[in-house]
């Protein structure tokens, strides 16, 4: 297992200054700081609701004080790899909603695309501004060695967590100003400006002035509501709910105290199926009736485009390296985790015979729900899961249990290594932009590999050291 901080009993170079500082500060002060951090989070109101569980509906995601650090050289590689993926995923989306060259070429099976629940027939033939479908791509990356990074999955719809990247940094700077003045850490606070520029750059054809941008939220009960309001606030744009918007004369308006006001770009944090009850789920009260018609005729831009989810499906994921070769004529900079597709008879056989060593996931699942972590499972759990796989093999993929890197973390017993992953947020519009940073999630339970906030994961600040 790769330890982010230690190598051959030596502190790795990017962590040296931090370790010196921690030694000088002492455990007692650090514990005190930890309590301060929690109070700060609660006071600011950064919370995250967990679906389907009782207890505090506005729970805090545990924040760990010890940052996760990348050197400038490590970051350069990650940056190139993430941008490459963001570019190719958008090329793929444009292709499948137009000529489908990649299917004609026999590289991706047609049924994987067209029978996919995230594929949106209503999008066929629509040209979104700048041919961009996924404007914010969150790429989940894990590390298994000094130079071994793998992409675990892509998030092309509305990846969340960027508010933690920004707030974690705010808290760290507020608590340890001396560290930031001593070390050269790349700032992350330009993200909201970059997001605003990206959204302005995809204004629809009918927009003839400075585009009016809104963030569309399902409402204060949504688990990521804090992030929705945070981003709207940071960009200085309105945070709207479905009932605040209406369609008239082929355009979208919001209800204001001055009367109707035109809306040009909607950054929606609402699933496809809810955005327009006339086009998708008729029972949705969260969306805007008639929105898709306006979108089709170029009266409004929607970010991300409906149907963008077909690119981040776990079955499609396995083909991303092929896409990179097909559309860009390049080799992938970041590798995929080797993946067995249970829909293939040979792979299915292998998976069923090796369940104890594999991580098995539902193709359409998210948030770490419904997966089997082989080494941590009991024989009964494996047997029950095997039955589920056999019932519908095409719904499952399996990957080896990766020895995820671990980063020192505050736990009950002191400081101990815990597994981490990493999600940078790539912006796609008139340009491809990437903030030097991202969200590091940490599995707080000993030995656990599940970093999802809905399942006992925490977060850390991520430092990219400047050259």
């Amino acid at each position: 297992m790769f330890n982010e901080m230690m190598m051959n009993d030596q502190v790795r170079e990017p962590y040296r200054a931090l370790v010196d500082w921690m030694d000088a500060t002492g455990a007692e002060t650090l514990t005190q700081k930890r309590l301060e951090a929690e109070t700060l989070f609660r006071k600011i109101g950064i919370t995250f609701a967990v679906y389907g569980e009782g207890g505090d509906p506005e729970r805090l995601i545990p924040f760990d004080l010890i940052p996760r650090i990348f050197t400038a050289a490590e970051w350069r590689k990650l940056e190139r790899g993430v941008k490459q993926r963001a570019r190719v995923l958008n090329a793929f989306l444009y292709d499948v909603y137009h000529n489908a060259e990649i299917i004609k070429a026999g590289i991706i099976p047609a049924d994987l695309v067209y029978c996919n629940a995230a594929f949106e027939p209503a999008m066929i033939g629509i040209d979104p501004p700048r041919k961009v479908y996924s404007h914010i791509v969150g790429v989940d990356i894990v590390r298994v060695g000094a130079d071994d990074f793998y992409v675990l999955e892509d998030n092309c719809r509305t990846p969340s967590g960027v508010s933690y990247m920004l707030e974690n940094r705010e808290i760290m700077m507020r608590m340890f100003p001396e560290l930031f003045s001593k070390l050269r850490i790349e700032p992350v606070d330009s993200y909201p400006d970059m997001l605003l520029r990206t959204l302005k750059s995809i204004a629809p054809v009918k927009c003839n002035s400075d585009p009016n941008i809104v963030v569309l939220t399902p409402g204060a009960m949504n688990s990521a509501y804090y992030e929705h309001s945070f981003l709207a606030d940071q960009m200085g744009v309105e945070l709207v709910e479905g009932p605040d918007l209406f369609v008239a004369g082929g355009l979208v308006y919001m209800r204001t105290t001055r009367g109707p006001e035109r809306v040009d770009v909607i950054y929606r944090r609402l699933d496809d199926s809810y955005i327009d009850p006339l086009c998708f789920r008729p029972d949705s009260v969260l969306g805007v009736p008639g929105l898709m018609n306006v979108y089709r005729s170029g009266g409004v831009a929607i970010c991300s485009a409906p149907g963008a989810g077909v690119a981040d499906d776990k079955a499609i994921y396995t083909y991303v390296p092929d896409m990179i070769r097909f559309y860009l004529g390049q080799e992938p900079i970041l590798n995929n985790v080797p993946t067995w597709k249970c829909g293939r008879p040979d792979d299915l056989k292998y998976v069923l015979n090796n369940l104890g060593d594999l991580v098995v996931k539902e193709v359409h699942g998210s948030g770490g729900y419904g997966m089997l972590v082989g080494p941590a499972s009991t024989a009964e759990e494996r047997a029950a899961y095997a039955e589920r796989i056999k019932a519908d093999p095409g719904d499952f993929i399996a990957q080896p249990t990766l020895a995820l890197s671990a980063c020192p973390t505050f736990v009950e017993s002191g400081i101990a290594p815990r597994h981490v992953d990493f999600r940078p947020f790539c912006l796609v519009g008139d340009d491809i932009r990437l903030t030097a940073g991202g969200l590091t999630r940490v599995a707080l339970r000993e030995g656990s590999l599940v970093v999802n906030s809905s399942q006992g994961g925490g977060v850390k600040d991520t430092w990219i050291m400047a050259e």
């Binding site: 309105e238 945070l239 009932p243 105290t257």
Partner: protein
């Protein structure tokens, strides 16, 4: 500004002001109850607080016997009492959370911090063992909210909706506070002017945090006439109906200028303002203070509904 946001701002400030005024009412009840008991003991004072808070029926259904402990628990922590101080802060925060982008971080921290603290177990003990200290705490939260609003919020239409909420609610509360006198004294009007009565009138001033201000304006003449004048017609008293009406008219005028349009709500506000600016205390006492205050409460409520209609709080 989104109509929904305007509505949230308006109700946010109304609930904060209501929590604070509920605390002021309790302060009055507490001080009145310290008086030597006459007849029914100090229960009458506490019952009058319930009446003024508009909570008498709800309390009777739930508790029956109006003891100080039961009443203060009902007015502070009862989840079933829509106007309890805890519920006021819950609603205020829910409104704030629904439009975090329209208020500043300072304002959010004031509202969120107040609720977090109030939810702690220790606050129940404080209210039980040291009611005056608890009342001061509530008043401080109101001051913190208004202070952060004053020092950090843009002076745009959002500011006007916040201030409208504050003054509509304050006018409502001052009128109710004065009305309490009627619940306490009637039908024993004959004792007007004796020692107990004077004490009760000055307590009304205390509850409006206006005792010292009153001294500066009227020296030590505690006649009911002057005290009522101070809280109804005096243009310098920050809690008088006249002052509230003046602020409401002013903020509505600002909205008319910003949005470039006048509506029936503007003339309704001016009507009430004229009524108060030309008001005469002799006349008010002759026609009956209670009747005057009841009429004012109806006008004030109508104004609140009219603001909502004018600026589409219910959606277009």
């Amino acid at each position: 500004m989104l109509s929904r946001t305007a509505s949230n701002l308006f109700w946010l400030s109304r609930y904060v002001e209501r929590a604070e005024n509920m605390a002021r009412l309790m302060e009055m009840g507490y001080r009145m109850a310290l008086m030597p008991a006459v007849g029914d003991g100090n229960r009458a004072e506490w019952r009058s607080v319930l009446s003024a808070a508009g909570c008498a029926d709800g309390f009777a259904v739930e508790h029956g016997e109006p003891t100080q402990a039961a009443i203060s628990d009902y007015l502070i922590f009862d989840r079933d009492n829509p106007s309890s101080i805890l519920n006021c802060f819950e609603y205020a925060r829910a409104n704030a959370r629904a439009m975090r982008t329209a208020i500043t971080a300072d304002m959010w921290e004031a509202i969120n911090g107040a609720l977090m603290e109030l939810r702690r177990a220790g606050m129940r003990n404080l209210a039980k063992n040291d009611l005056p200290e608890f009342i001061d705490w509530v008043k401080r939260q109101g001051a913190l909210f208004r202070g952060t609003t004053d020092s950090s919020l843009l002076r745009n239409d959002g500011y006007d909706f916040i201030r409208l909420g504050t003054f509509i609610e304050r006018a409502d509360n001052t009128a109710r506070l004065l009305d309490v006198k009627y619940y306490v004294l009637l039908p024993e009007t004959s004792i007007v002017g004796d020692g107990v009565d004077n004490y009760q009138w000055t307590t009304v001033l205390r509850a409006a945090s206006s005792l010292r201000a009153f001294h500066w304006v009227y020296k030590d003449d505690y006649s009911p006439w002057r005290i009522a004048h101070f809280l109804i017609l005096n243009p310098f008293s920050p809690r008088s109906l006249f002052h509230c009406s003046e602020r409401i008219t002013n903020h509505l005028e600002r909205l008319a200028r910003q949005y470039g349009g006048r509506h029936p709500v503007h003339s309704a506000a001016v009507d009430t303002y004229s009524l108060l600016s030309q008001g005469d205390m002799d006349e008010i006492f002759n026609t009956g203070l209670h009747e005057f205050l009841s009429d004012f409460l109806i006008r004030n409520q109508a104004l609140s509904s009219s603001i909502a209609e004018t600026y589409y709080f219910g959606g277009q």
